[in-house]
Amino acid sequence: MRRALAAMGLLTCAVPVAHAQQVTIGPQFVLASYREVAAGLRYQGTGFGGAVSGRLRRLSAEASVVRLTLDPSGGGAATAGFTATEVNAWVAYDVATYASLEVGIIRRTADPELDAQSVGALRIGARSFTEIGPGAIVLFRANYLAAPQFSGGGRAPFSLELGLGLDVRLAGRLHGTAAYTFQRINRKTNPGGTGELDAPLQETVARVGLALGL
């Protein structure tokens, strides 16, 4: 968590120097839903976090840190909740007025550590964005999660992430933001060398917040 905050702070400090006019920073309220291995192991929760974004000509960057409290959903097999800290980061390069190529990272850690899988992966993908009105931008992103690492071991040859984003200038420098992320990781494990078993992970996150343009 400390390293995540430090990275976010570094981004906050570095981006305004590059281009002060197009940097936003603000708090976020988070809704999340998490499933692991089987339909019965499902959690829902809320949390808080912050996000920062910046743009320098065709290059843009975005990062967020959220802390989630996930509790077992009703009717599920899970008996105890856990706390997750999730760090997301993207760096994108505009290849058209409506599309960017992007790379990034994701790191989600669970606390207590063994109550859920901690995940780290690289993101490679693209996003499309368009202005739907004065100061209102909507975006759609699709990322492949490459080289995922799990605290419980295993591998994931197919992992995808989809996203829907919205940024609306409410007044002056104040923006309203909303972001939806759906993550599907086809994790496979081989406990004791007995053969591979499917242990998929699936998470949906909605981040709603305000951002102040600097």
Binding site: A39, G133, F140, A142, L164, Q202, T204, A206, V208
Partner: protein, 348 residues
Amino acid sequence: MSRSVQALVLLAGLLAPVAGAQAVQNATLRRAEQAYDNLEYRQVLSLAQAALREPLTGPERARAYELLGFTYGAMDSILKAVDAFKQVVLIDPERQLDPNRISPKAYSAFDVALRQVLLVRQLRVDSTTFVGGQGAVPIRFTVTQPARVVTRAIGSGGSGRSFLIDSGAWNGQVNLRWPARLANGDPVPAGSYTVVVEARLGQNAFSGAQPIRVSHGAVDTVAHLTALPGYEYLPETEIPPQSWRPLGLAFLFTGGAVVGTLGLESSNLGSGSRRELGVVGGAALVTGFVMTLRKPAPRPAAANNLYNRLLRDQIARRNQDIEKENVARRQQVQLTVAPLPKPSGAAR
């Protein structure tokens, strides 16, 4: 004729003799005028001739001959009337008669008299301003008989330089244009000049003069253009017509997220939560709907911008031409010529 007009004519008839009487100081001449007003022509002749034997001013002498001319004209002695009018114009070459106020006989006698003496009349130099080398001073005068006429501009002061304006045979109305330049093309020095017109016919000669003042000034430069008359800059942005596009785009992006989520959901994990997608997708749709209702954002008008750029280029080119012209104008001299009041006895 209305009563008011008749009253005005009567008032004018009463005032005119009063004005003439004020100019005339000689008592004999005044009596001659009164006799003329009373149509006592024989008395006019004797009184006017008596007055001419007395010391008179120039205007009084001209008036005495004029009375004689009118009287001889009224008495059908045309030759004598012509002789009297000759004396009038020799004394006062600028004398004019109003054909509406005197008899046709007297006027025709005056006209014959004008054509029998050599005179330079109605010498006029018009006020003018022009750039040296690009204009001329208009000079007009009338020569009453065919004559060799030499027109000069003679400088006042110590130098007294004389510039020949024209030399030729003229008769009647003459219009000349003096470029006011030296032989090398430079404008004549600033100062006072006298335009002298000398007419010569055999032994007879007559001259008229008109003083003028020539002054130098800087030529006005042309102001730079900020716009071309009749061509206005067009707005660089335009507001597109209101459409459903914002809501359509919101549907498209949200639909992509919905379809992607449904398609990627793991069958092992069961149906996932729709809460997160509902919140963000709903926000996107509401935003799209609001943006559909709002006035669209202005967007660059490509054609207008191209037109504005052409207009700016055109104005810049015109300003470059103006700057070149101003450089030339700063090296030029603007001449202003104005006539001065004539001193008495300018013609002879």
